[in-house]
C-alpha cells in the first residue's frame, strides 16, 4: 500500500507541476515544430518572452480551441493554410488586431479585411513536368489539365490534403460548382495512378516515369531540387499554371490572435516579429516559401523558378468553400 501511495503522490506532483509564467505566449501551431522553432528561439532571444508551442493538425487545434472556450490558454494560432484561418474566424475564435507595423508590412491581399488574421508566407501550387515527354507550349492553366490529351499522365496527392482542397475551392470560386466538378472529373480521368503519398512522392513518381506532370507545392520542389540529390531531378522543369482566365493558385501560411488569449500584447508582438525582415528572411530560406514582404531576398532556387502570375481570388474564399470542395472530390472519386 505504501508503494501505491507514493506512486499517486508522484503522479499528482507531475500533474500539478504544470506551471505558468507571466511573460510568455502559448502558440498553437499547425506548422511543424522544426519549422517554427528557429523563429521562436530568435523571438525569445530578442524580447525575453517565452514561447510555448503545441503542434497538431490545424483542424485538431481548431476543435481543441473550440472546446476550451473561455478558459483557452492559446494566444496565437499558426496555420499553413488560409482555409483554416477562415474557419477559425468563422467560428468566432479570433480577435481583430490593430497594428501599424502589420498594416504597413503585409499587403491587404494576404490578410483578413478586418484584421482577424495575417498571412506570413506564400506557397504556389505549381506544375512540375518531365521535359522529355511534355511540350512546354502545351501547358496552360489548371483547367487544361482535365483535357483528354493528358490522359493517364497527371500525378497529384489525395484530396484529403488541405492543399488540394484549397485548390478545388479556388476552382469552384473561379468557375462555379458545375464547371469545377466537370474539371475535377476530367482530372481524375487523367490520373496516372491512384493518389498516394505526399507532394514529394509525386515528384519522385514523375522522375521515375510514372506520370508526366505533377501538381505540387512550390516549397517541396525547391527543397528537393536544392539538396545533394538534385541530379535525380535534372530532367524535371517547373511551370506556374496560368491562362487567360486564372493565374497561379497561391496559399498562405498565417497567424491570428485568439479571442480569449491571456497574453494579447505579447501575441501581437510575436506576429509583428514574424512579419519583420529578419523573420521573413528565415521563412524564405528555411523552407523555401515566398515571403509576404516583397523586398526580402529569396533563395537562388526560387529565383531560378521564375515568377508567377497571381490570381485575383482572395484567399478568404478557400475556407468558405472547403467543405464543398471535399464533397466534390468524393463525388468524382478523387481519393
Amino acid at each position: 500500500m505504501k508503494y501505491i501511495n507514493s506512486f499517486f503522490l508522484i503522479l499528482s506532483f507531475m500533474i500539478i507541476s504544470f506551471e505558468t509564467f507571466s511573460d510568455e505566449i502559448n502558440l498553437y501551431s499547425a506548422r511543424k515544430e522544426h519549422l517554427i522553432k528557429p523563429l521562436t528561439d530568435l523571438f525569445t532571444k530578442d524580447t525575453g518572452i517565452k514561447v510555448n508551442i503545441i503542434t497538431a493538425k490545424a483542424a485538431q487545434l481548431h476543435q481543441r480551441i473550440l472546446r476550451e472556450g473561455e478558459n483557452s490558454q492559446a494566444d496565437v494560432l499558426l496555420t499553413s493554410d488560409a482555409g483554416n484561418l477562415w474557419r477559425a474566424h468563422n467560428d468566432k475564435l479570433l480577435q481583430s488586431v490593430s497594428s501599424d507595423i502589420l498594416d504597413s508590412k503585409i499587403d491587404s491581399k494576404y490578410k483578413d479585411p478586418d484584421n482577424y488574421w495575417f498571412g506570413l508566407s506564400l506557397r504556389a501550387r505549381i506544375l512540375v513536368y518531365a521535359a522529355e515527354r511534355v511540350d512546354k507550349n502545351k501547358l496552360l492553366g489548371y483547367k487544361s489539365l482535365a483535357n483528354p490529351e493528358f490522359k493517364g499522365r497527371v500525378l497529384i496527392r489525395s484530396s484529403s490534403n488541405i492543399y488540394n482542397q484549397s485548390l478545388i475551392a479556388h476552382m469552384i470560386s473561379k468557375y462555379g460548382l458545375v464547371e469545377a466538378e466537370k474539371w475535377a472529373m476530367g482530372l481524375v480521368k487523367n490520373f496516372a495512378r491512384d493518389p498516394a503519398g505526399g507532394d514529394r512522392d509525386q515528384v519522385k513518381a514523375l522522375a521515375a516515369g510514372e506520370g508526366d506532370i505533377a501538381i505540387v507545392n512550390s516549397y517541396y520542389v525547391a527543397n528537393m531540387m536544392d539538396t545533394d540529390k538534385k541530379n535525380l531531378f535534372d530532367k524535371l522543369r517547373i511551370y506556374f499554371p496560368n491562362d487567360d482566365f486564372m493565374g497561379t493558385h497561391l496559399n498562405i501560411s498565417g497567424a491570428a490572435v485568439l479571442k480569449n488569449a491571456p497574453n494579447v500584447n505579447n501575441a501581437i508582438k510575436f506576429i509583428e516579429f514574424l512579419a519583420s525582415d529578419e523573420a521573413q528572411y528565415i521563412y524564405a530560406n528555411i523552407n523555401y516559401e515566398y515571403p509576404v514582404v516583397k523586398e526580402i531576398k529569396i533563395p537562388y532556387i526560387l529565383q531560378e523558378f521564375g515568377s508567377y502570375i497571381e490570381d485575383n481570388i482572395l484567399t478568404n474564399e478557400y475556407g468558405k468553400l472547403s467543405s464543398e470542395a471535399i464533397k466534390l472530390a468524393d463525388r468524382v472519386g478523387w481519393k
Binding site: 500539478i16 522544426h34 472546446r67 490558454q73 474557419r87 512522392d201 522522375a207
Partner: protein, 541 residues
C-alpha cells in the same frame, strides 16, 4: 445485485471498467443524432469503400498473422535446433518497431530510387517496380509483419505450458507431428491464438498512421477526414460508432470461442515437453522459416533506419533530444503501471464474480479499439466540461481561477492512455490468472484468507511474470502511440513518436530516423526483459 456490490473488489472492478465508458458514451451519443447532409453524402460516395477496405485489411492481416505467429511459435516450442534460443527472442522483436516506421521504410526503399527498387531494376535490367507499397496489399504486408508477434507471444506461452503427456499420448496413438499440431496443439492453444489475433485486429482497425501515409481509405481515416476536414462531428461520431460495433462483434466472437474451449487446466506438476532435436536440412528449414518474419519485420527496417540516421545525425542537438527521451519514457512508464493496477483489480473482480463483472470488463476492452484521436476527443469533451465547472466553482467560492487544470496537464493524456491500453493489460492479466485454478482461491478462503491476501499472495506472486509482461507490452505501445498524444499533450511536451511523425509527414524521413531508432531500442529493453523472464520461468520448471 446490491449484495454483489458490497464486495469492494466487484465494486471497484466495475468502477474502473466504467472509466472507459466515458469516451465511448461521448462518441456513442452521436448515433442518436439525426442524419445530416454530410452523412448522406458519405453514404452515397465513400462509406462502402471505407468498410470494404478496412474489412479486407483486417481479415487478411488476421489470417496471415495467425499463420505466421502460430507456425513459428510451434516450431520454437517443439523443436530443438541450433540458435533456437536466439531465434525465439528475435521473433518478438518486430514488436519494437511501430507500424508507421515499417511503412516509411518499405515505401521508401521500394519506391523511386530506393535501395530495393534499384536492385530490382539492376537485376532485371528494366524500369519497372517490384511492389507498390501504396496499396492495400502494402498495408496488409506492413501490419502482418509488425503485429504477428502478438499472436506469437501468446501462442508460444500456451504451447510451452502444454503437457508433454498429451503429445506423448498422441504419438502412441500413431499420430504424426502434423496431426498432433492440428489435432492437439492448436485446439489447446486456441484461446491464446485467438486472443493474440484479436489484439492484431484491434490494432489494425485503430491504425491511422499507416493508412494516412499510404493513402488508403480506411474507416479510421474516414473518421478523421469527416471530423477534421469536413468539420462534421456528428457524422464522424456515427462512423466511430459503427467501428465500435465491429470491434464489439470481434470481441464477442473471441469470447464465445473461449467459453466453448473452457479454460485449460494448468498442469504445472507435469513434466515439460522434451524438445525434439532437429539436424541437417530440417534444422536449416526451421531456421529459415523462423527468420523470414524477423528479417522482414525487424532487421531490414532497423538497418535501413540506422543508415538513414547516419546521414541525418547533424540535424539533432543532444540536450533537446535527451529531454524528449525522458518525457517519452516517464509518461509511458507511469501510464503502463496505472493500466496494470486497474487491470488487476478488474480481472480479480471478474474472478470473484464473473457473471456480474464480465459485461463491464468487456466494455473496458473496447477502449483498445477506439482510434486514438476519437478517444482523445471523447475524453477532451468531458474533461473540458469538468475543467470549466471546476473553474466556475473555484472562482465563485474561493475567488481563484484554476484555468485548465485537467485538460492542460498530463492528467488528460494519462486518462487517454488508460482508456486505450487497459484492454491490453486486462488481456495479459487474464491470460496469466486463468492458469491458476479456482480451487486454489477456494482453498485459501477456507483457510481464512481475505480477498486482498489471495490476490497478493497467490495470484500476483504466481503470475508476476505475466504481470510484468503486461506492463511492458503497454509501455511499448504507449511509446509508439501517436494520435491521442498529439491532441492531448500539454505545452512543450513532446514524445519521440510525435517528433518522428512530424518529420515524416513533412517528408523528411531521414531526419525522422533517429527518434524512431530510439523508440526501437527503448522498446528492445522491455523485450529483452520479457525474454529473461520466460527463460527463468522455463528453468524453474
Amino acid at each position: 445485485m446490491f449484495r454483489s456490490l458490497q464486495n469492494g473488489w466487484v465494486l471497484f472492478a466495475i468502477l474502473f471498467s466504467l472509466i472507459v465508458i466515458v469516451p465511448i458514451a461521448t462518441v456513442g451519443s452521436f448515433v442518436f443524432i439525426n442524419e445530416g447532409d454530410t452523412w448522406l453524402h458519405l453514404k452515397e460516395t465513400v462509406l462502402l469503400n471505407y468498410i470494404t477496405n478496412s474489412l479486407v485489411i483486417a481479415l487478411c492481416v488476421f489470417i496471415f498473422s495467425v499463420i505466421i505467429g502460430t507456425m513459428t511459435a510451434w516450431i520454437i516450442s517443439i523443436f530443438n535446433f541450433p540458435c533456437c534460443k536466439y531465434i525465439d527472442w528475435f521473433l518478438i522483436l518486430p514488436l519494437a518497431i511501430p507500424s508507421y516506421a515499417l511503412c516509411y521504410v518499405y515505401s521508401e526503399t521500394f519506391g523511386f530510387n530506393g535501395f530495393f527498387s534499384q536492385m530490382f531494376q539492376w537485376l532485371t535490367n528494366s524500369n519497372s517496380y517490384l511492389v507498390n507499397f501504396y496499396s492495400i496489399e502494402g498495408a496488409i504486408f506492413i501490419f502482418t509483419f509488425s503485429l504477428y508477434p502478438y499472436v506469437y507471444i501468446l501462442a508460444r506461452q500456451s504451447f510451452i505450458s502444454q503437457s508433454a503427456s498429451y503429445i506423448e499420448i498422441s504419438k502412441i496413438s500413431g499420430h504424426n507431428l502434423v496431426k498432433i499440431f492440428f489435432k492437439n496443439s492448436i485446439p489447446y492453444a486456441r484461446p491464446a491464438i485467438i486472443g493474440g489475433a484479436t489484439l492484431v485486429i484491434m490494432e489494425t482497425l485503430a491504425d491511422y498512421g499507416v493508412a494516412d501515409y499510404l493513402g488508403i481509405d480506411t474507416f479510421t481515416k474516414g473518421i478523421y477526414r469527416t471530423w477534421f476536414n469536413l468539420g462534421d462531428i456528428n457524422s464522424a461520431g456515427k462512423l466511430s460508432s459503427i467501428l465500435l460495433l465491429t470491434v464489439f462483434f470481434v470481441i464477442f466472437i473471441e469470447r464465445t470461442s473461449r467459453r466453448k474451449a473452457k479454460y485449460n487446466k494448468n498442469i504445472r506438476n507435469d513434466r515439460p515437453l522434451i524438445k525434439r532435436n532437429l539436424s541437417g536440412f530440417n534444422a536449416y528449414l526451421a531456421i529459415t522459416l523462423c527468420l523470414i518474419p524477423v528479417f522482414l519485420g525487424f532487421l531490414i527496417p532497423l538497418i535501413t533506419l540506422i543508415s538513414w540516421c547516419f546521414k541525418s545525425i547533424s540535424y539533432w542537438d543532444l540536450y533537446s533530444f535527451i529531454k524528449i527521451i525522458f518525457s517519452s519514457f516517464s509518461i509511458a512508464f507511469i501510464a503502463a503501471i496505472l493500466c496494470m493496477a486497474c487491470a488487476i483489480i478488474i480481472v480479480y473482480g471478474l474472478r470473484v464474480n464473473y457473471k456480474f463483472v464480465s459485461p463491464f470488463a468487456r466494455i473496458a476492452s473496447m477502449g483498445y479499439s477506439i482510434p486514438g484521436a476519437v478517444a482523445a476527443i471523447g475524453i477532451l469533451i468531458p474533461i473540458i466540461w469538468m475543467d470549466n465547472n471546476l473553474n466556475i466553482f473555484f472562482s465563485k467560492y474561493f475567488n481563484y481561477s484554476t484555468g485548465l487544470l485537467l485538460s492542460g496537464s498530463l492528467a488528460a493524456l494519462l486518462f487517454a492512455y488508460l482508456i486505450r491500453f487497459l484492454a491490453l493489460s486486462i488481456q495479459s492479466v487474464e491470460n496469466a490468472f486463468i492458469r491458476v485454478p479456482n480451487s486454489l482461491d477456494n482453498a485459501a478462503k477456507v483457510l481464512g484468507a481475505t480477498n486482498k491476501k489471495i490476490l497478493k499472495n497467490i495470484l500476483i506472486k504466481l503470475n508476476i511474470n505475466g504481470i510484468c509482461l503486461g506492463i511492458l507490452v503497454v509501455f511499448v505501445d504507449i511509446l509508439k502511440e501517436l494520435p491521442a498524444t498529439i491532441i492531448l499533450r500539454p505545452y512543450d511536451f513532446s514524445t519521440l513518436a510525435i517528433k518522428a511523425h512530424e518529420l515524416a509527414m513533412d517528408e523528411r524521413l531521414y531526419e525522422a530516423s533517429l527518434p524512431l531508432i530510439t523508440i526501437i531500442f527503448v522498446c528492445l529493453c522491455p523485450l529483452f526483459v520479457i525474454n529473461k523472464i520466460t527463460t527463468k520461468y522455463k528453468r524453474e520448471n
